[in-house]
Symmetry: C2
Subunit: 237 residues, 2 copies
């Protein structure tokens, strides 16, 4: 008897996720061996991931080495913007695939070369659904929601927000112009991601950015990532 | 010999899309039989689909009957907002599925009851990737991009924009505040969707909304949708 199509899809999907998980663990082992913290940034298209990274990389420059792996269906616009900071960047074009997977990130880590830098940002494809299911080997997940998107996004996309260690409310300089309801947003975040930290930032004005950098440094401490001592590091940046 | 997992995924995906296409055609036949124009709205999360519909439904009320089918992973927030206009609305919760498919829309059309209203809006799941591949039986596709998302979205998500009949640039009241580059945006839209019409709107201030209503009426004329004459209609609204 023929299997129902829906059942087949689910079985194949599980096999794909199992394989992805295994490659993700291998990415993580490589990152850990080099004392590199990987941060997976997830959000809608246009929430400000690239602008956040541009300012962050400039601010951290000279303090700790960093690189970016950036996923888009098409174009290398983001890689060019990030490259202008002087930071190594690998652009992944996924064609019609709606998320990064661990195998894509594995190849990108290979292109960055060993030892890996202290901080590897992974800018995922702009999508609040599919990237949530794909572990890339990251230590932390950061979900961005801009004040222009509406306060209820964490309720409408709970799977992604549930996996976030930090929620960044971005474009906060526009909060007043769009009549952003901070209390409603916090309520929505707490409902979907009760354990996540929350920061309000504007990569345009600099608002909240110091707290974001402090959060990044704290994650390196928590993970006790001392890195490759042959690089002469004194430990935590 | 075992089939490679990637090959199996592609084969299953094609079968899923073929089945979806067949159900989409059957939805379309039902819509045509009732003289109902279906418009599929696609965008990022938070581009303003629901706010656009709220204002549109209030403006068209008394001129032509309309209903909304709205897709979200979770919550009935959008259905409640749209329901406040007095318009029939069916909320579909997709759980972890990143798009509406034709079977979901078929069930929703069944809930709306026959004859179908003159205009059926389908508010897809907020996602600029996956919904592009799933034909729902619609007559027209409208892609929304808000001025806050950045001008390059049509280049970065070409598959979805390529299928659009109309691109609505939304939240245009914020264009100045976010230093929106209209020329760059038009260049990006033209590159990905050379045949699409383009309108600038603000559902908050009303800017451009009359042009959007005129576009909707024109699509009904083009499709020659005279509808069910037993309803005593004089034809085109």
């Amino acid at each position: 008897m023929a299997e129902a199509p829906s059942t087949r899809v689910i079985l194949v999907q599980e096999a794909v996720l199992d394989k992805n998980q295994a490659i993700g663990r291998s990415n993580r082992a490589m990152l850990d061996a080099d004392g590199s913290l990987a941060v997976n940034l997830l959000s809608s298209p246009g929430s400000g991931k690239t602008t956040l990274l541009e300012r962050t990389l400039r601010a951290l420059s000279g303090q700790l080495t960093a690189a970016v792996i950036v996923g888009d269906l098409a174009t290398d616009n983001d890689a060019r913007r990030i490259g202008s900071t002087g930071c190594p960047v690998v652009q992944i074009n996924t064609a019609d695939i709606c998320h990064l997977d661990a195998a894509m990130v594995s190849r990108a880590l290979g292109e960055l070369g060993r030892p890996l830098p202290r901080l590897v940002f992974i800018e995922n494809v702009g999508n609040l659904v599919c990237p949530a299911s794909f572990y890339l080997g990251e230590h932390r997940r950061v979900a961005l929601m801009s004040v222009t998107e509406g306060e209820d996004k964490p309720l409408k996309y709970p799977t992604l927000f549930r996996t976030a260690d930090l929620v960044l409310i971005t474009k906060y300089d526009l909060a007043e112009a769009v009549e952003f309801d901070d209390v409603a947003a916090l309520r929505a975040i707490t409902a979907s991601a009760p354990d996540a930290a929350v920061l309000r930032v504007s990569a345009k004005t600099g608002l909240g950015m110091e707290e974001w950098y402090a959060w990044l440094r704290a994650q390196r401490n928590k993970e006790d990532l001392h890195g490759d001592t042959s690089r002469g590091s004194s430990g935590i940046p």
